[in-house]
């Protein structure tokens, strides 16, 4: 009993932390307190005030508004990446795991090679090929994330396809598609959710890294990574300019990983 409460406390904490960043991010898609792009010389590097709770940046733009918009960019890229990677990865993993054979062998060898590369390096390579920008980064990351999903789903399909109930379904004349979709896929959901949460975190970190380097999201789109790299020049005079976007990334990643631990 005690253990269950503690476990719940952990997942509630995770949900709360995630919500702290994700709810303002979702609001930020539609509305921000100020126009995040309005430049105001008189508010340059202004401190915290009632009007601007997080102060203003080096162009006098409201940091809260930019954080909301930046988090929403990061959140949407993370979601897009994970959905794209999971859909394609599940398809590849399901087909190769179910049918096996030469194609499975070749694809998985290729997969192993991709997986041995750090995701940041893969993302850098794809961005070098596609070019920078919000949607291109999403594509680049989604492609880079397909192998990890494919591997996890393939292993699940391989494990489940030899179980007795699948054999029974086959004997009763179910088609391959029905077996995969109705009988095996629901069994992989738990593993898939966990992979999605881990993937989301990796995507958020990769996007922030790319934007920090200046080859991810391009201005005028706001991004947490970009804000961090802009803030470096003013680190001594206005450390909060760096700390706030950094904390937004940490809180979001920490919250999601705490939820992920509970799913396990």
């Amino acid at each position: 009993m005690n253990l269950r409460i503690k476990k719940n406390a952990n997942s509630i904490m995770g949900i709360v932390l995630t919500a702290i960043v994700v709810i303002p991010a979702i609001i930020g898609i539609f509305w921000t307190p100020y126009d995040p792009e309005t430049i105001n010389g008189s508010l340059k590097l202004a401190g915290a005030s009632w009007a601007h709770p997080f102060g203003c940046d080096n162009f006098g733009r409201d940091i809260l508004s930019r954080i909301m918009l930046g988090s929403s960019t990061t959140f949407l890229i993370g979601m897009g990446t994970v959905i794209g990677g999971a859909v394609v990865g599940t398809l590849v993993g399901a087909l190769t795991g179910f049918y096996g054979g030469v194609i499975d062998e070749v694809l998985m060898r290729f997969n192993d090679v991709m997986l041995s590369f750090p995701s940041l390096l893969l993302a850098l390579t794809f961005v070098a090929i596609f070019g920078p920008g919000k949607y291109r980064v999403m594509w680049a990351l989604a492609i880079a994330f397909v192998p990890s999903f494919a591997r996890i789903i393939r292993a699940e399909f391989k494990r489940v396809k030899n179980m007795d109930y699948v054999k029974a379904a086959r004997l009763s004349g179910a088609s391959d598609f029905r077996i995969m979709y109705v009988h095996i896929l629901p069994n992989t959901v738990k593993v898939l959710i966990n992979a999605v949460l881990i993937g989301f975190n990796n995507a958020v970190l990769a996007e922030a890294g790319l934007s920090f380097l200046g080859i991810g999201v391009q201005p005028p789109d706001a991004s947490l990574g970009r804000m961090l790299s802009d803030s470096q020049t003013y680190l001594f005079t206005k450390p909060s300019y760096a700390i706030i976007p950094g904390m937004a990334i940490i809180v979001m990643v920490l919250g999601v990983s705490m939820i992920g631990k509970e799913v396990e």
Binding site: V113, S116, F117, P118, L120, L121, L124, T125, V127, A128, I129, N201, L205, A208, G209, F212, L213, G214, I215, G225, L228, S229, S231, Q232, L235, F236, P239, A242, I243, G246, I249, I250, V253, L254, S257, M258
Partner: protein, 310 residues
């Protein structure tokens, strides 16, 4: 025999990866001749340059040229710098590798010391506190960790001067002294992962039968811990080391920007922005080789440490 097979397959992987990189960068739109001369150049000028760069040859011919060059350590000429790519990256590679090795060292020391402490004091307050702090540290992106380190240790306590990078051929001691800070930033999140892995290994092994046998033979608890439990708990961590090293090498590319270190990352970035593909190809292939061979090393190490896998 198995090791030989691993070596052969690693070499094959290097070949496949470099082929993919070359093909990918050859088929993407964008004309390097235009990139070099600008849009104001006349068509003849462009044509001449394309011929001089060997861009008019068919793809397979260019590929064979490129591979033969790479095998002799020649990655071609940089479009934007106009000097051989090898000269451009040769003196930057040690910066990347040194930083990754220092951060590997920091990671191992931190993870092992803290995991042993936590395994001994599983239920103590400090042991639990380390566990909580650990989860937070795992979520810190290295470049933000680097900014915080700069803020605290560089600007506030003045333990190092941010941006005061000194090259290794000028003063090796000062170079390593400066490299420690970015290395910590890269090492921290990885150390916390290695810590959890090692700790769960230690706690799991502690309850196993062979441990009880070792005690019943009259071994002291220290001897049992260090000679049996720790040794077995380290085995899964070794696989992690290979992955961590690969991630650290990629991490150096980003952290260089935080600490103003002119290494491979800086060249890679400007080359991506200038579409200077020979340089991008060379850096990606070099890092790929580093990653693949560090994985190979880990595989071999694994077989040496764990006789069951031989």
């Amino acid at each position: 025999m198995k090791i030989l097979k691993k070596i052969v397959s690693s070499i094959l992987v290097v070949l496949v990866v470099s082929t993919l990189v070359f093909v990918a960068f050859s088929v993407i739109p964008g004309d390097p001749a235009v990139a070099k001369l600008g849009t104001m150049a006349t068509p003849e000028q462009l044509e001449n340059l394309r011929q001089a760069m060997g861009l008019t040859d068919p793809l397979p011919v260019r590929y064979v040229h490129w591979v033969l060059g790479v095998l002799q350590g020649d990655f071609g000429t940089s479009y934007s710098y106009g000097i051989p790519v090898t000269d451009l990256i040769a003196d930057k590679l040690p910066v990347t590798v040194t930083m990754a090795i220092i951060s590997m060292f920091i990671m191992i020391v931190l993870a092992v010391v803290l995991a042993i402490y936590s395994a001994y004091h599983e239920h103590s307050l400090l042991g639990r506190a380390i566990g909580v702090i650990n989860q937070v540290i795992m979520s810190i992106p290295p470049f933000f960790g680097g900014i915080i380190i700069t803020l605290i240790f560089g600007l506030t306590f003045k333990l190092f001067s941010p941006g005061g990078y000194i090259s290794y051929d000028i003063n090796l001691g000062k170079f390593i002294g400066y490299m420690i800070w970015p290395a910590i930033a890269i090492a921290l999140p990885k150390a916390s992962m290695a810590y959890s892995l090692l700790l769960s290994g230690l706690i799991g092994e502690k309850k196993k039968d062979y441990v009880r046998t070792a005690y019943s033979r009259g071994n002291s608890s220290k001897a049992v811990f260090y000679r049996h439990i720790l040794k077995n708990a380290c085995i899964p961590v070794i696989t992690f080391l290979g992955m961590a090293f690969a991630d650290m090498i990629a991490g150096t590319l980003v952290i260089e920007q935080v600490f103003g270190i002119p290494g491979l990352g800086m060249i890679l970035l400007t080359s991506i922005q200038n579409r200077d593909y020979p340089v991008v190809e060379a850096i990606i292939v070099c890092i790929a080789v580093l990653v693949i061979f560090s994985n190979l090393l880990v595989d071999i190490l694994y077989k040496v440490v764990d006789p069951r896998t031989r």
